[in-house]
């Protein structure tokens, strides 16, 4: 029994420690200088000195947030469209397109977007948007096409219109699956956004690339660890929301 108790709160404790460490690191990186100093050579700076880590972290998160919100709106709208009677013709094609789209490497999307929109944040947003669309669309499609038939029938029998069924039944019921897609998309985007710095977007990738160029391992490590910590925490947070909505849906339909 005791062991089970430890197991139950240990993950929460680890998460809390991670949050505290992350906040401390981005706001006061100087505290951690002694830890990173052994990784540098020739007395190079151990903490990124060409911009504030906090600003870069916030910019990184902002880029991911904008791209994910846009991708969610478009992907869910598309999934709704192809699951309505009027759009059902597009369903098989949209499935194959999603499959094809996933084979495009993010670096290629990023580099090809540059001539169209120039350097900076825009090509990164386009790449993240396109890349984020796919998992959300796929999950929304799964959610909307695998609803329990009796529930949908009951709603139809109760005289609900198509719109009412969509808003009150279909979307809430598929919300957990759609959230799962968003979670996947966010984690991919967090890592992919670092590549955006190769086309001059201001993200945490800047720190990593500066480290690669000046052969400074401390920079590579701090940039990579911040992104990884953000990804782990956001993944956990979204999983919790997902479980919460799934539980609520379970109660409401029961």
């Amino acid at each position: 029994m005791k062991e089970a108790g430890v197991k139950a709160w240990l993950p929460s404790l680890l998460r809390l420690v991670l949050v505290v460490l992350l906040i401390a690191f981005v706001t006061n990186p100087g505290w951690f200088e002694p830890l990173l100093k052994p990784l540098t050579e020739n007395n190079a700076p151990a903490i990124y000195n060409q911009g504030s880590l906090l600003t870069l972290t916030l910019l990184h998160l902002r880029t991911v947030l904008i791209a994910t919100v846009a991708a969610t709106i478009v992907a869910v709208a598309l999934a709704i469209l192809v699951t309505r009677p009027a759009g059902v013709e597009f369903l098989p094609l949209s499935r194959s397109l999603v499959n094809i789209g996933q084979t495009f490497p993010p670096v290629a999307v990023l580099a090809l977007a540059v001539p169209a929109v120039g350097f900076g944040e825009k090509p990164t947003l386009i790449a993240l948007f396109l890349y984020g669309l796919l998992p959300i669309f796929e999950n929304a499609l799964t959610g909307l096409t695998t609803l329990p038939a009796n529930v949908v029938e009951a709603a139809r029998g109760a005289g609900m219109t198509g719109w009412q069924r969509l808003v009150k039944i279909e979307l809430p019921l598929s919300a957990p699956i759609i959230l799962g897609g968003i979670r996947l998309s966010v984690v991919i985007s967090l890592a992919t956004a670092t590549i955006g710095s190769t086309v001059a977007a201001r993200t945490l990738g800047e720190v990593i690339i500066a480290g690669l160029l000046s052969n400074n391992l401390a920079f590579v490590l701090q940039g990579g660890l911040i992104v990884a910590a953000l990804a782990v925490l956001i993944y956990d947070g979204l999983s919790a929301i997902e479980r919460y909505t799934a539980r609520r849906m379970g109660q409401e339909t029961a």
Binding site: F90, L97, I100, A108, G205, V227
Partner: protein, 388 residues
Amino acid sequence: MTIRFDKLGVVIAAIVSYAAFAAPFATFRANRIVPGEARSILDALPAAAGPLLLAIVVGAALIALLKTPLILRLAASVVALAALALLIGVSGSFLTPEGNTFARISPASGFWLLIFAFTLLLADVLTRLNLSPWARVGVLVVAAAAIGLLLVSGSWNSLSILKEYANRADSFWAEGSKHVTLALGSLAAAVISGLPLGILCHRVEKLRAGVLNVLNIIQTIPSIALFGLLIAPLGWVATHVPGAAALGIRGIGTAPAFVALFLYSLLPVVANTVVGLAGVPRAANDAARGMGMTDRQRLFGVEFPLAFPVILTGIRIVLVQNIGLATIAALIGGGGFGVFVFQGVGQTAMDLVLLGAVPTVAMAFAAAIILDAVIEMTSTRRREAQPA
């Protein structure tokens, strides 16, 4: 008889009419860096070819717009794509001034949109035809052969991307083989070590959560950081382990890229092996045990074949992902097609970016189609075999 419209056809016709009449077909640049001048279809092609292409494109769009038999739609999309592919080459030679080696002709947005529209039509037809796995691979082979023929025949030689290629033919193939070695080699390493690890995780429940969690966390480390972080340990190995340097292990270059790709590949392989083995029906296992099969016989004779399609799905994910990720190896001197992409971004020479990006996308695409077909074949065979 009433005329009925195809819904996708409306979208295709809209794209085609914009692309053919309002967007530029080709871009002319006096050299590879300066901004280009746009040329429409009629300006970019010799006297007879321009109207011919317009007629083909409009005709194919009309076939797409109306409700027409699948075979007609297939023919329309193939004819339109073939005409576009041939005539963009013609446009390249037509627009290049005699004896000028600096001028660059590249396909412009109109061309790409037309290609997109008719590929959409083709994809729709192929989806609706519900082709067998073999037939899909066949379509891929035919398409690859057609593109190969166009490349070998030299009809695209006047286009900018091939001029970039002509300047770098040797390094193109060298980087290409490095790219393939990185992607396939790391996949092979991941399969060789991931399968036993997956089996172990399946058998020993205590290990499962721990191993999968560690692999999950590795996935969250951004690729460029992981590539960079491996420089130091591998550099240390190279200088301290006798013989390691002779094997080509170095802090910078292919070795850290290989290890990074390997680490990313482990999760899909291990996770899918675990899921696949867990999905083996209990009855099959019990029957095998009842027949007196040993653990090892059961693993190779029963569990493994049944879990194979799921494991293959993991391998497909890894292969497509690795082909894309290998482009990033260029950032740490690991070579691959990424070299051209990043050089091109640095010089703002988009043709050079394309020279790196197009083969990468093509390889990933082909790998996805082939492995999807293999997965479908193995899982149908399994389904047929099960009732027996």
